[in-house]
Homo-oligomer: 497 residues x 2
Amino acid sequence: MVLAKDLSHLLSDEANTRVPSPLKTCIKYFNDPNVIFLGGGLPMSKYFPWFDITGTSPLPPFANGVGAPSSEQDLINLKIPRDNIDVLEDEEFGTISLDKALQYGFSQGHPQLTSFFKEHNKIIHKMDKYEDHDVIATIGNTWNLESTLRCLCNKGDYVLVEEFAFSSTLTAVKAQGIKTCPIPMDADGIIPEKLDELLANWDEDKLGKIKLLIIVATGSNPKGLSLPVERRQKIYDLACKYDFIIAEDEPYYFLQTGQYFKPEERPALTNEKIDHDEFVGGLVKSFLSLDSEGRVLRFDSLSKIMGPNTRIGWITGQKNLLTHLFRFHEVSIQSPSGFSQAIVAKTLNSWGQAGYLDWLIGIGKEYKTKRDFCIDSLYKHIPKRLLDSKTVVINPPIAGMFFTIDIKSENHPEFESKFQRNGKLVEQHIYETVIKQGVLMVPGSWFETADCTIADRGGVEEPKKEIFFRGTYAAVDLEKLDQGIQRFAKVLDSEFS
Amino acid sequence: MVLAKDLSHLLSDEANTRVPSPLKTCIKYFNDPNVIFLGGGLPMSKYFPWFDITGTSPLPPFANGVGAPSSEQDLINLKIPRDNIDVLEDEEFGTISLDKALQYGFSQGHPQLTSFFKEHNKIIHKMDKYEDHDVIATIGNTWNLESTLRCLCNKGDYVLVEEFAFSSTLTAVKAQGIKTCPIPMDADGIIPEKLDELLANWDEDKLGKIKLLIIVATGSNPKGLSLPVERRQKIYDLACKYDFIIAEDEPYYFLQTGQYFKPEERPALTNEKIDHDEFVGGLVKSFLSLDSEGRVLRFDSLSKIMGPNTRIGWITGQKNLLTHLFRFHEVSIQSPSGFSQAIVAKTLNSWGQAGYLDWLIGIGKEYKTKRDFCIDSLYKHIPKRLLDSKTVVINPPIAGMFFTIDIKSENHPEFESKFQRNGKLVEQHIYETVIKQGVLMVPGSWFETADCTIADRGGVEEPKKEIFFRGTYAAVDLEKLDQGIQRFAKVLDSEFS
């Protein structure tokens, strides 16, 4: 196997300036039995005021479904003892005892956690195209983006983003003084040919080198799209051609709900156990799995899979780039919480890789059920005349948690009189009216990426003409979801009467 | 009471650019019973794979000492249930159930945690000089510094730091492109008159406005000094006069070990319970307690008190500044780990404020014992001739975890022949020799603050002439400590023979 390409020319000034703290160079003597360590302010673990932590989790294969209450589930008892686990030799590999979990060190994450993620990566992404890849444990994808931006981009740099993107991503980018260059999208996601055209005509002398593409390729936010593998390959090839890094931000990767079918055409959900190979084979190929040069930094997170505030995620990529990311950990987050690492590592290692796949299959099933129910509900409640006239278009997602509804604002009876032919005013009006009726849907304009290239050329960006709303089927149960959609549909009915 | 001064002119470009994410503005509807929330990707808590988390901690007043094993302690059982705790009405205030702990939201920390810290602040710092102060929960003081720098400083700005400072602090500052301006220190810490002089002559037009002083005022790192209250008041007055913010970084605040006495003059440690008022009254006044304008951001951390990788700390200061800090959370760390918040909040609220004071008293006692033992051991093992000739000077600390040993490098027999009259070479030689003899002590030069004003005036900084080593009595037990010091002393004996 080959080694990753040296991409150190893509590092930010900050990453290049951030030398390892000299104190970190001597921490290696902390566990050296021949050296008495009077070097760093590491409190003795006997002063940690917890003797043990225990918990219960459901037992794979989660026969009653991943959301079933404890009384319906077989349970696993998780026990995290205070000390004396030799992590490498003990048969209970997977346990991070509290004396180690709550101590300093391991800014890359504890091996009991990262080795699980590495093994998982092999199963899902193969990881057989270059040799020197690794995993660092992090505190989730919000952080993964923030730290990647800090390590790759300087103020004034451009990054490539989707035409519609997660608003917090755009906030983070903007606050760092980084500019956005949106890539046009269609119903399959960003369009490789448009990206190629954009980069072929990029004025690097004037606008600087583009070093990074940020993309939520599976279950994109807000659109719920999933980029087909052919496009992924083309975009990866462009990354090699134009020398940039792909930050593949994949919190929704395992929520691949597949194509939506109307109830009458829908294959019945069986209770048959899904084969692991079949499940893995059915997942869209990741950028990571295509990566032969070490150009992909993949962001994974447990937020949508096990719980947002576990604050556990990980980054996979070439070792040289990861070194800069965890060196940043040392002066910022230090490492993910010890309690989180210990509890999550114990849970995952107790489940095993097969159990974790069962969990992912189970979670995916729940979201497929919710997605189907949600789209059914939209078709049921939104008046047929609005759908027929294409005043309202429902976009069934194929991955993730979100769905969108396009609205032809010019069909609003007061489009000229009240809203001065401005779609954004219609959008704001519908947003507020809908809240008053007791349901919250998010205006699509919140996700619009500013095209900073226009500003840099002295132009003014036209507001996009599309109007849409983003909803989610994640946050509420089916009954409420139906009720919420009904309320939303009622507003559309009366507004476009 | 008055309100804090408006200090928004001291914010960084980044903080001024970082608008709240629009999605965060609608999260308030998540708990509104009248609104069905289809707004954000919040997974339902029934998909969190833990039914409960429990733990055991020692029970106040920790009669057998804070480091005693569980078998010698009375225990508290901590139970964190899955759900259905109404946090404001339930009698078990202090419990953050898992459904809330592991969900998004609360980038300022859960109220069960922050309200405990606020109450604690009242006891320790009074907080009666201005009205609009608050607390945000964070992931520790490394982060507190990082986020404060991001919110106050631009690249190229100068910050005031101690002449000798924690090396990771200096690394963090430098990586952000911020420059350091050291304040001279003596045996009591930084010297107010020197600071006044420095600021009176500061060329703001050329060097920019100074907006921040970073200081570890109690148990300073590496020196173990503690700034007397008179100096704190003078420095606070200078902050008002010259309009800067004091970042009071206080991980060691509760490790105030007091003056060192030789064994024969030392008052015997009694087992009598220390009165809480007496304990609080005996603590050196914090900058926070002197703050009448809202110019102090105090960093507290549980790292040295309960365990480093709890990754729980907090910042106290005026609300307007805190708003910018937690708005940064929203696009970076989100919030401290839910497991950490739930376990720590449950522990602290179970102990109560009085129990927590007992814990702090107990921890302080342990460190006083270790400090005394350590300094005794130094006097015992370092040859008297080296102390008499002031070749070696022992500096007993009065707070914190660290002690320093000054060494007169010019007394080394090979100072001219082998080390070319360069103290740094002597330092490096001793560092390496000491490791070979099986003990690690940290060279003082690792803590030297670069004086960037010199570089900006076209000069070259002379390496400081002082040579010293920093040790800690935190990381090992008494027996090993003695053995380590003996090894170190043996090296000094043979090097300076």
